[in-house]
Every structure is written in C-alpha cells, then in structure tokens.
Amino acid sequence: MAATDTTPLVALRDIRKSYGDVEVLRGVSFDVHRGEVVCLIGPSGSGKTTLVRCINHLEKIQSGRITVDGELIGYREHKGRIIEDSEKRIADRRQKIGMVFQRFNLFPHLTALENVTVGPVRVQGRDPKTVTAEARELLARVKLADRAGHYPSQLSGGQQQRVAIARALAMKPAVMLFDEPTSALDPETVGEVLEVMKELALTGTTMIVVTHEMGFARDVANRIVMMDQGAVVEIGSAEQIFTNPQQERTKAFFKAMR
C-alpha cells in the first residue's frame, strides 16, 4: 500500500477556480502517489467536489496545473502559455481517470453489463467479446454477477453505485475518483459500497475519495486532506489527523461531526 514510486501519480499545483466573483478553490496543492488512498474531508461547500471534478476536467480551472501520470489535464502549453486542450485530447486523458459520482449517473437505457462494457467498446474500440468477459468478472468483483441483465431502474442505490464502480474500473484507469459515493444512499446500502471500495484499496488501486464517512477515512485512507473554504487546512496520515489534528479548524470540524 505504501507509495513505491517517488513521482506523484496525481499532482495538483496551486489550483484556483472561481464562479464569477466567488472563489471556490484558492490555491490547492497536493500530490497523490501510486497505490495511495487519499480522502478529502471538510464541511459542505469547502470545494472538495469541485476539486475532484477539476482532476478530470469536468470543471475548468482558472490557474494552476493538474497532472496525472505526468500529463497535463485539460490544458496544454502553447508558446509558453497554457491554453485549453482539444476535446479529443481531453477525452483521451480522461480514460486514465475513473470517476464515481454521488448520484451514480448510470446509463438508464443500458443493462448493468452494458453500462460496464460501453466505455471499453465505444471509447477504446476493444473487442466486445473480451470486454464482456472482463465486465462479468468486474461485476462479480462488486458482487453483482447475478444482476448483469438488470437495468439501473431495477437495482437498489447500493447496487447501482457498485455497477458505477465496475463501469469506471472497466477502463483500467490509473486513478479512481470518488465524489461522495455513499451520500445519496439508503443507510443500509452504504456498507456494501464501502466494502467494495475497501477491497479496491487493499488491492492497490490509487483512489481520491471525497467522503463524509469518517470511519472509512480512518480505516482505509493513507492520507487525509482537510479542506475548508476552498483551501487545504491540513494534510496528514489518517492516524495523525484523527488522533492529533494540528489546526483549530480541523478540531472544530470533528467536534461538529459528533
């Protein structure tokens, strides 16, 4: 689980973003190394979700740079200036970045199996037979082998989110982003999703997880990034952040959580 490589897989450098006059990210910087699980915590509106959406360029940034596996995301350098990249290159970069959404966003017109195969087949142009076999394995891995032919409307929230995880994994991404993956779930299905995520973490998947599940963060995260008002308050190991937070803001946040 420890980082085996010194170059970061995901590097965020001084990310700034604003909607009109409202600054939602004010210079965020941190690195994520291969095999690491980093949890982003903090109060609502602190910019956690916006930050993970910036990492695969679902949101534009005003300044700073994001690299994944050494490649700039969303932008490229042109004659010394940074300009937005072409649709095609942005789309190519995104294949390396899996994303799981708070509201699942499964494709309702496709079965669970088709949701998992559509990316590799339609984006990567891979052989449908091979992809289908892999997709069945992925569904088994998220414990939904028996739901392959079901449409999303026929699945519970927890099942849908597990299909969404399989869908993202099917692209064989270098890093997985999770945007509050359990916030829209019924309490009784939260556990099954966290279980799958824990299993992914144990098998060495690099993960960036926005979460309010402090138990999960404490058990699974290598590092915790505490954010507030668009900035990083503190970064530390799960152990250090939970047992010995350095910043008053972090202590106040934990106090309010109880």
Partner: protein, 258 residues
C-alpha cells in the same frame, strides 16, 4: 343511408371495397411521400436541434432563425413559394429526376423538399426539448468515461432522447399523412388529389370524401400501432424486472393521439 342525404350506396361500396387503380396509386403516393418527408424531417430536425445547442453563436443563430421562419409561415404558402418561387427566380428549374423505374417530377421534388424542411422545424423543437430534459449527470458520466461529444451523443444521449421523441413523433407523422393532402395544390395526385379528380368527373362529393376520411383514418391508425410498439421498445428499461416483456394491446389504440 339514403333519402335526405342522397347517398349512392352502390357507388360508395364499390369505391370503398373495389377501388379503381388510380386510388391505389394515390394511396401509395401519400404513403411514400409521408414516410420519406418524415424521415428527412427527423434527420434535418436533429441537425437543427444540435446547432441550436451548439457552443458557436452563429450556429445557434442559424438554428433559431430556421425554426422561426419555417414554423411561422403556413405550409401551403411554403409549398407554392418553393415550387413557383424557386423556379421563377431561376435557382432551380425542377427537371424530372429518374431513379430506377421511378420518375420524380418537379412538383414531387418541391413537395418533398418543402415537407421535409417544414417538418424539420417541428422536429428540431421536439429534439431540443428531449435533449435538454436529459440529466446533466449523463453527460458528466459519458465524458468521465473518455467519450468525445459525438460518441456520447450517439451511444448515451440520443438513445435516451429517442424515447421521449417517439410520442410527439407519432403526432408529427399523423399530421404529415394528413398534411400531404395539401399537395393537391401542386397538381400532385396523392390520395386527396385523386379523389378530387374523381369528384370532378362523378360529382359524388360526399361518398368520395367519406372514402378519403376512411383511408386517412386507416393510415393514422396503423401509424398508432407502430408508435405503441416503439414506445414499448424505448420504455423497456423502465419496467420492473418481473414483467419486462409486456407489450401494449388493443386498449392503446384509442387513447391519446391526434
């Protein structure tokens, strides 16, 4: 069925159950013009809808202008303008076009062009409404999988839009079938034009126009059946798992549509 109305029952029954060849020809003309014009209208309408949703201001402007003009003027006026106006201005003289054994006469070309372009304006509005009703999360999920806009449109967005387009499309096609009766003004002998011609020879107005009504009703009814099948097809993913094979029966026939 006689007396005050003075209906020639024998004439009526003969023309209804044993129609002369020219009625069959007129009927066939009505059907293929409707189908071709509707198909072209759907294709062009989709392009117009996409241009209205474009990032480029001039494409949006063009799309809105197109819909404004074609929806804001009567079909009859458009027919006459496209046929006589375009030829008179010397843009295009409508020479006969030979396609295999079929001859596409000048009036038929003008009719197909006008009906298609007119229909495209209505279909554009239908597509636009359907596309804008699709959850933003679907676009996010497609992009996150690395889909380029055209791939996302083809495999994720349009299949979902199609389902919302089918009911209004059924309406449009019904209007199209009935609307072809206006082509008589260009001297086209479709169903209505043919019966009008027979009327001029026999003065059996009431009998002939009842026959016309019956034929149009039959066509639009068959259309209704096709629509129900399409709706069931596109609605399949909303069915609960248990009865996903249900197909609509006769009861759907008399409900709803114009």
């Amino acid at each position: 069925m006689s007396g005050d109305f003075n209906i020639d029952t024998a004439f009526f029954l003969k023309y209804l159950f044993n129609p002369p060849a020219i009625i069959w020809k007129g009927l066939w003309l009505t059907i293929w013009i409707s189908v071709v014009a509707q198909a072209l209208g759907v294709a062009i309408g989709l392009l117009i809808a996409l241009s209205i949703r474009s990032k480029r201001a001039w494409l949006r402007g063009f799309g809105k202008f197109y819909v404004w003009v074609w929806r804001g003027t009567p079909l009859l006026v458009q027919l006459v303008l496209i046929y006589t106006g375009v030829a008179a201005a010397g843009f295009y003289k409508y020479p006969d076009i030979q396609i295999g054994p079929f001859t596409l006469t000048g009036p038929l070309q003008a009719a197909l062009i006008t009906l298609s372009l007119n229909e495209a304006a209505y279909m554009a509005e239908i597509f636009r409404a359907a596309l804008s009703s699709i959850d933003k999360g679907q676009f996010d999920a497609a992009r996150a999988l690395g889909m380029r806009p055209i791939t996302a449109m083809r495999w994720i967005i349009l299949p979902q839009a199609a389902r919302m387009v089918v009911p209004p499309l059924g309406n449009e096609f019904t209007l199209m079938i009935k609307g072809t009766s206006l082509l008589a003004i260009l001297g086209i002998r479709e169903l209505f034009g043919t019966l009008q011609q027979l009327n001029a020879a026999t003065f059996r107005t009431f009998e002939l126009f009842i026959i016309a009504a019956i034929w149009y009703l039959l066509l639009t009814t068959i259309m209704g059946f096709v629509q129900k099948r399409l709706e069931a097809h596109y609605g399949r993913y909303d069915q609960p798992a248990a009865d996903s094979k249900t197909t609509p029966g006769l009861r759907g026939l008399f409900s709803g549509q114009r």
